[in-house]
Amino acid sequence: MPREKAIEAENIAYSYGDTQAVDHISFHVEEGEILGFLGPNGAGKTTTLKMLVGLLTPQEGRISVLGKDIVKEKGEIQARIGVCFEEKSLYEEMSAAANLKFFAALFGVRDLDVAALLERVGLSDARKDRVANYSKGMKQRLMVARALVGRPRVLFLDEPTDGLDPVSSEAIREVILEEKGKGVSVFLTTHDMMEADKLSDRVVFLSEGRIAACDTPENLKHRYGKRVLKVRYHRDGELAEEELHLEDADTGRRVQEIIATRRVLDMHTEEATLEDIFILLTGRGLA
């Protein structure tokens, strides 16, 4: 049975003067699904996100979130979503707990367990410190925590782990997966293909405001990637490397031959990354 659509964008477009930032794109996010929105800087990811959360009105097309029209029922939608922008937007003179309490009050949430929420993002020890004294990673974790105070049904995360240390990134990824486990839909914009691969149920490749591909990472890799087996061995006292395509008919025979005649150093399969596929489809990288 198909799941309900938490987000549905139909033929949406937005331009800044002569620059077409988003060029008539359509996509949807199902309930409890994580959609990775991949693209390089300037591809139109943030403009799309701004339209989805009601900061910009689509110049063309239609957006519905949780079954409501973003233009006509913006207030009702914004009461049920959580947004985490790439740029830090915290009250730096206030503590983490005060920031969360303030936003909870705006959502009308009276019984928020601030300590538990800060614990989830690993900030319980610093909850009384001024946010101005936080590191970049701590601020980002607080931004994610803030996006959760209104108990959202849909989360919008704009580059949530960009430039963060591995510990902070992992903490944020865990929270995202926990929310997905609760049935929360997640719209995740990123140019980190590793992150998109790890987290997303489906990914959208966005390039110059247009969708180049939209599918699960596995399907994309299957369709566009080439699976290879890399073998390194010693030959005449020197290190040699051989790349064998798994789909080729004589790969098995060749592997047996190498093992029988050479001293094998290591052997492993390699898949195409999402970045490889992005480059293949758009002719440009994600950075």
Partner: protein, 362 residues
């Protein structure tokens, strides 16, 4: 409304966390109150009177025996009064020079007596700032002098020629005039605190973070306006109390003016905050406009600087009624048009500031 109040509470908290703004606000209040209390509360009571006397055809000073006696006795009285409070006499060689003395405010009034023709002529010149009592006293002296010299009362009423704009009012000590300027200054200083509040929300993108919650742009603007008016109004009110500007008769009018002034400042602060990148940038771009806003307050101290252009400055409509009500005991009704203009300016600035903010936010 609940959301607006939550933002107002947060804003007030944030405002008072900004040590620079708090120090400036508290310091300015204390320093202004100190300045006011250190200034003399009484006016200089020495009156300088300019004189010109002509008794014979062909010009010259007092030549007849009566005139000579009068002149001598006046001179002696003038010398005796020199250095002490009271009357000082300054003789002028011609009516033109007497007028120049009055225009240059070297004397408070000038009396030109021309007794050389069968119909004696008396001209009385007064400065624009001479109080009514001064004019009356000068008139009395002129009549007495003319009577002593010609032996009968002057046939016609004596008309005073006012040199410069006629201030026709009571003489107000400088420190009382200063109160209006200090109140204007308090508002101007609040501009920076309020502007900083708006600029901070825009620059740190917290305003955008608010706008993706149930908070609408209207809620955001209303909260900032409420915070701004509350802070500026309470600061103005405190200053008015400290400066002794509130009286039983005028408190309602003063409060209404302070409220309107606070609203005007919020509108200006919206523009300053929305147009600035940081506090220094705000201070730089607002320097000239803020100086212009201060000019009407300075004109209260010296009405000689007054000009029709003053009416184009929004604070004119705040300062003028404040001056009239606080210093001259006039009623608020006589400044109804000022209040209307003030409301119009406040609304225009508020609208412009809100539009600028909206433009910066989305």
């Amino acid at each position: 409304m609940r959301r607006v109040l939550h933002i107002v509470r947060k804003d007030a908290d944030q405002y008072f966390r900004n040590r620079f703004v708090v120090v400036i606000s508290v310091l300015s209040t204390l320093v202004f109150a100190l300045i006011y209390n250190l200034m003399p509360s009484r006016v200089d009571e020495t009156v300088k009177l300019g004189l010109y006397l002509r008794t014979e055809e062909g010009g010259g000073e007092a030549a007849g025996p009566e005139a000579v006696r009068l002149a001598e006795s006046l001179s002696q009285a003038g010398e005796a009064a020199q250095g002490a409070e009271g009357l000082q006499l300054v003789w002028a060689p011609s009516p033109e020079e007497l007028r120049a003395l009055v225009e240059g405010e070297e004397v408070s009034a000038g009396i030109a007596l021309d007794l050389s023709s069968p119909e004696p002529k008396v001209d009385l010149f007064v400065t624009s700032q001479a109080p009514a009592e001064m004019v009356g006293a000068a008139e009395a002296i002129a009549r007495e002098m003319a009577y002593s010299l010609v032996g009968y009362a002057l046939p016609a009423d004596l008309e005073a020629t006012v040199v410069g704009p006629d201030m026709a009012g009571r003489q107000v000590p400088m420190r009382d005039k200063l109160r209006v300027l200090l109140l204007a200054l308090v508002f101007i200083l609040e501009l920076y605190g309020l502007g900083n509040l708006v600029m901070d929300e825009i620059q740190h993108r917290t305003a955008v973070a608010l706008l993706v919650t149930p908070v609408t742009l209207g809620d955001f603007v209303a909260a900032k306006a409420l915070t701004g008016v509350a802070i500026a109004f309470s600061q103005g009110l405190l200053m008015a109390f400290l400066l002794g500007a509130m009286s039983r008769a005028s408190w309602a009018a003063i409060m209404a003016l302070l409220f309107m002034g606070a609203a005007l400042m919020v509108g200006v602060a919206f523009i300053m905050g929305a147009a600035s990148r940081n506090f220094v940038h705000m201070a730089m771009i607002s320097f000239i406009p803020v100086m212009v806003l201060l000019v009407p307050g300075l004109v209260v101290l010296d009405p000689g600087f007054s000009s029709p252009l003053m009416k184009a400055i929004p604070t004119y409509y705040l300062v003028r009624p404040l001056d009239g009500i606080i210093n001259y005991g006039k009623g608020a009704l006589s400044y109804a048009s000022c209040l209307a203009y003030l409301a119009l300016f406040a609304a225009a600035f508020f609208l412009l500031g809100s539009l600028l903010m909206k433009r910066r936010l989305v």
